[in-house]
């Protein structure tokens, strides 16, 4: 019995242990290898790290829900780009100019609605046709990217609005706006997954779909809601990032799905569904960002970052398999 608790504890704490290890390693290694005189554990550096985690992190929180539910969404990068274009382009519309600063919340709303709509398209197709979510979202990853290009050709879309930039660059209690959004999303989604019926049902469906159906849970609507949620979160991520940058290229957000899935898996969520935690994903996002920043700090090139992240991902999978030896996954091929 003690053994079981210890294992569970070990698994839950693994990502935080890894983060702690990274902090110590990069601080010590930075003393000898860093090109700059600044310490790695500098408070500004850490605040910046949180801010830079936000775009991937907000989407990763949504992906956690999707994966707990037993699905996957490969189209998040394309949704992110399309919502960013809607956000910036809508601010250029003549109607919006007459509204003054009220145009900003309206543009945000439009972007979020776009995200919800695209997520709903994915969710409805998965629900109504029964085609595997991997295939559906692989297709819509291409399709939504096509829509991105159709919107404005191969040109960048931009809009500069100082009110917007000021808002995005503001620091409240030391934390940047983007960080606040990340923390708020994490808190809200934690509440949704642990304290609401929808969250419990999402876990139940991912763990054993047949049992969930027998228990009277309607699988379809829950999947639809989850896809809408990740659509909105991808849009929110775009809103947070592009409010500051003000310009979007049609290729932006490519490979985001891979980064996001990496963070979610590092955080301990299972691809097979039924297990995973929002807080774990938050840790996974921080761990990846720490790794990128830390390797940069000790003078490693970008190629090392890709190499290390890939190897860590596989190592985590291997360790996880060792810790979960027994159980149903052993028979599943």
């Amino acid at each position: 019995m003690t053994n079981v608790t210890l294992t569970t504890l070990l698994k839950r704490g693994a990502i935080w242990g890894f983060i702690l290890f990274e902090l110590i390693f990069f601080s010590v290694a930075g003393e000898f290898m860093s090109l700059s005189n600044k310490a790695f554990m500098d408070i500004d550096n850490m605040l910046l790290l949180l801010k830079q985690s936000a775009p991937i992190g907000i989407i990763a929180i949504g992906m956690t829900v999707i994966m707990i539910n037993g699905n996957i969404d490969l189209s998040v990068g394309a949704i992110y780009a399309l919502c960013a274009i809607v956000l910036l382009d809508s601010l250029n519309w003549p109607i919006m100019a007459g509204l003054g600063d009220w145009a900003i919340p309206l543009a945000w709303l439009l972007a979020l609605l776009t995200g919800a709509g695209l997520g709903a398209i994915n969710g409805l197709i998965v629900w109504k046709t029964g085609v595997d979510a991997f295939i559906v979202t692989l297709g819509s990853m291409l399709g939504f990217r096509g829509l991105v290009f159709m919107y404005n050709g191969e040109n960048p879309t931009s809009h500069l609005n100082w009110t917007l930039v000021d808002f995005a660059e503001a620091q409240v209690f030391g934390l940047h706006t983007a960080t606040w959004f990340l923390l708020a999303v994490t808190a809200i989604m934690w509440f949704v997954m642990h304290k609401t019926v929808h969250g419990r049902n999402a876990y139940a469906i991912g763990d054993n779909r047949a049992a969930a159906v027998n228990a009277g849970i309607r699988v379809g609507p829950h999947m639809l809601i989850n896809f809408i949620m990740i659509g909105v979160l991808a849009a929110l991520s775009a809103v947070v990032f592009y409010s500051e940058s003000g310009s979007v290229n049609p290729n932006d957000g490519q490979l985001y799905e891979l980064w996001v899935i990496t963070a979610v898996v590092l955080g301990g969520t299972k691809l097979t569904g039924g297990a995973g935690s929002i807080i774990g994903t938050f840790g996974g996002v921080i761990a990846i960002q720490l790794l990128r920043k830390g390797l940069g700090h000790i003078g490693a090139d970008t190629q090392t970052v890709s190499l290390v992240i890939g190897l860590i991902l596989i190592a985590v999978l291997f360790l996880d398999r060792q810790l979960n030896r027994k159980g149903k996954e052993e028979l599943r091929i």
Partner: protein, 324 residues
């Protein structure tokens, strides 16, 4: 009786639906633009699909065995860069086998992780996508690779020359497709690939070495990737580090379009070739009609969903899913 006939038509549609769709597309585009079926255009389309096609052949084996391979794009960049770099250092005759050996080592590593250690193939190959990209950049130092003496080498034959009017990439794609189709359909190894993907537990109990079969599928896939890298390197004689980026998803789209189930156990080389050609001809047809290249993304999206939907709708006997 009528119901039976209708069911039969449905079965036929599902089984060969992708072929009908292919024919319908060809007719529609030919009506829209007479140049579409001109021999040089057809040859051009197949030739430009050949690299994607060769990779899709290998991935077909992996998918039939019930796994995924997201690392092929990144691995293709690796083999292209490696062969170009070694070409100037040890000459083409040694560079090519060395590149094949290195690429197949990567394939063997993935095969070991997925086959023998039974790790989830999606995440392993996702990790390898990132790791191999890092490896490629480390090898090249982030610089583009170019062959110094482009005129004085025979290295270009794999990408640029023709035999009896047929470009070599098409011959390589066609030849490999025939060999692999035979291997998959007519040899014990091929049967075992289907068995492992169809029902891994049953296959294990029948004495089929699941781990070894999965391992071999990945090695085969990496062999195809190395061939694609060779064709790419030979065609352009120089390359960026990101030459294969994103190809893994196009390859997967072609394989799925061909009707291979991601659950494993179904699919054929012939259907994958059709899937590759459909993607190629759609791209070309839409360009000839005067549409921008990105319209093909949207069209591909719709076609993939419809193709897979039709396939499973016929299998379960009803159009809409039973999900409540």
């Amino acid at each position: 009786m009528t119901a039976l006939t209708r069911q039969d038509i449905g079965r036929l549609l599902a089984r060969q639906g992708i072929l009908f769709a292919f024919v319908a597309f060809m007719v529609a585009f030919t009506l829209a633009n007479g140049r579409f079926l001109a021999p040089d255009n057809v040859m051009g389309v197949i030739r430009s699909s050949a690299i994607l096609g060769v990779m899709a052949l290998g991935v077909t084996f992996v998918v039939i065995s019930g796994n995924l391979d997201l690392s092929v794009g990144s691995m293709m960049s690796f083999s292209t860069i490696v062969v170009l770099d070694l070409h100037d250092k040890i000459g083409p005759a040694l560079a090519i086998p060395a590149m094949f050996a290195l690429t197949m080592c990567l394939g063997a590593l993935i095969g070991f992780l997925v086959g023998y250690l039974r790790l989830n193939s999606l995440i392993v190959t996702l990790g390898m996508l990132s790791a191999i990209y890092g490896l490629t950049l480390t090898w090249s130092g982030g610089k583009n690779m170019d062959i110094a003496d482009k005129a004085g080498t025979w290295f270009g034959v794999f990408g640029q020359s023709s035999v009896l009017g047929v470009p070599v990439p098409i011959l390589m794609f066609g030849g490999l497709a025939v060999v692999l189709a035979f291997m998959l359909a007519k040899t014990p190894f091929g049967r075992k690939v289907y068995a492992v993907g169809g029902n891994g537990v049953a296959a294990t109990f029948s004495g089929i070495p699941r781990a070894r079969i999965v391992f071999l599928c990945y090695v085969l896939s990496s062999f195809c990737v190395a061939t694609a890298g060779l064709m790419q390197a030979s065609r352009s004689m120089g390359s960026q580090n990101t030459v294969g980026q994103g190809l893994e998803l196009s390859v997967l789209a072609a394989v799925i379009l061909g009707g291979a189930s991601l659950m494993g156990g179904s699919g054929t080389i012939f259907k994958t070739v059709i899937g590759v050609l459909i993607l190629g001809f759609i791209q070309n047809g839409l360009l000839l009609v005067g549409l921008q290249f990105y319209v093909q993304y949207v069209v591909t999206w719709v076609i993939i969903i419809l193709a897979v939907w039709l396939d499973i709708a016929v299998k379960r006997g009803r159009l809409w899913s039973p999900i409540a």
